[in-house]
């Protein structure tokens, strides 16, 4: 299906739990996991490890963690908003932090949404369900000019 979810997440536990939550909600889209900012940008721009991939396939939504090594979430956000090919991608910041400064910066750099990862896994599952329903089903993605 041409409805890829790009999950940018450095923590393997959170990666596993997010995948489990998506599965529990019957969200069968292909999930591409980038384990840090560099991998995420490589995927989005078709460089490095993802050089030569089919660039007609772009994610329907990006789930973006903030605290990552090498290149962090906010930098990924800035770079993808700066590039005409990726600047309209829907980005949901998906993070443990609920610090004011993180929220402000995320929205300033152009995030579409900010969701705090709950500790209670049931809430996590419910949150993912609503995320999936909204961004994958309800929301109309921006058209891409290739």
């Amino acid at each position: 299906m041409d409805k890829v979810i790009l999950l940018v997440e450095d923590n393997p536990d959170d990666e596993m739990l997010t995948m489990r939550a998506l599965k529990k909600n019957n969200i069968k889209n292909e999930v591409v996991v980038a384990h840090d900012g560099v991998e995420a940008l490589d995927y989005l721009f078709g460089t490095g490890a993802y050089a030569g991939r089919d660039m007609k396939i772009m994610p329907k939504v990006v789930l973006l963690d903030l605290k990552m090594p090498k290149v962090d979430g906010l930098e990924v956000l800035q770079k993808l908003r700066a590039n005409p090919h990726t600047k309209n991608l829907p980005v949901v910041v998906f993070t443990s932090s609920n610090e004011e400064q993180d929220k402000i910066k995320s929205y300033n750099f152009g995030a579409n949404s900010y969701i705090r990862k709950p500790v209670d896994f049931n809430d996590f599952i419910e949150g993912t369900r609503q995320l999936g329903l909204y961004w994958l089903v309800l929301n109309e993605p921006p058209p891409f000019t290739n």
Partner: protein, 411 residues
Amino acid sequence: MEKLNEKEQETLTKTQTQIEEHFRRMVEGIKDYSIISLTLDGHVASWNKGAERMFGYAANEILGRHFSLFHTKEQLKNGRPESLCKDAIKNGSASDENWRVRKDGTQFWVNVVITAQFDSAGKLQGFSKVSRDFTERKQKEKELNNELAISVKDLATASADMVVRNQELATSVKDLATANADMVVRNRELLAANEELKSFSYSVSHDLRTPLRAIDGFSLALLEDYGDKVDATGKMYLDKVRAAAQRMSRLIDDMLVLSRINTREIAIEEVDLSLLAKEVDDELRLLEPKRKVTFTSIPHAVVQADKELMRAVVINYMSNAWKFTSKLPEAKIEFGKTKDAYFIKDNGAGFDMTYVKKLFHPFQRLHGTEFPGTGIGLATVQRIIVRHGGQVWAEGAVGKGATFYFTLRGK
């Protein structure tokens, strides 16, 4: 020249006598100056009215007496009168300003000019003395001098005082500069500590939650995927693991709020507590629409405080009131004011006054699992109120409700 005849001689002599008489009477009549003449050896030869007034002697009393009578014992000892006469002989005249003695023994200050009198051949005949009474002037001089002396003394004292004061001031300035320097250092230290605390709180908020999420999530995954391999006890254990992780998450959140109270900058503005209380009541009602709660409030309780922090106080006190009245069919909650303090009163579960001191400490709870909570709320309220310069306290009785008070600075 022709010799004068008898009649001419007579007329000449008469005319000379008349002129002399005229001059004598003139000198005699002057009252303001003492004009006297002395013989060679200092005896009084003539005495005018002025001398009478000045010295107190009548002419017939003093004529022929020695002029040493008019001088003080000291002057006589020093030989002043003689030296004056000698000066007069040498220079023609001499002047003096000094004391003289009256007939009645009192002294007066005199200004005198002594003139040596010579005949036509240049032979010394005697002395004339013209004197002026300068006692009054002398007195005034003395008074002025006295005043001057006093002023000089006062000035010297004031000067000495000022020197001492200057030294004290210099010391104070030095102390002040040292204290100021200390304060600047302390301020820098405090700012640094505050920043450290802020960034620590910030990283705690992120880093502690991730493992908690893993604990909760994988426990649930275990239950869901391997439920058939786990018996009831095992399931209960896993539930406890999850509950503990979630509780820890709430504790972290509360502790962060508590620490943030101290590191946040307070922004004082006008705050209507009555409005805040009404807003909080509306929110609480939305969360539990089925409950019967009567809320009464004083109007226009306006204070000077940080709005967000006061909102936290009101939310805390009122959520507690809602929570601890949750077992009543009908709850009554009141926001009011005594002379000095504001309060939230409820008719709920109350508490044992024996433990009132523990109420506001973090993590101290007086109700076990009866009512949920981490025990942080009241500690937060206390910290906020203390930062506003106020106080918190509470009254209650078991089963009879509780009243929670707070004051703000200046109230």
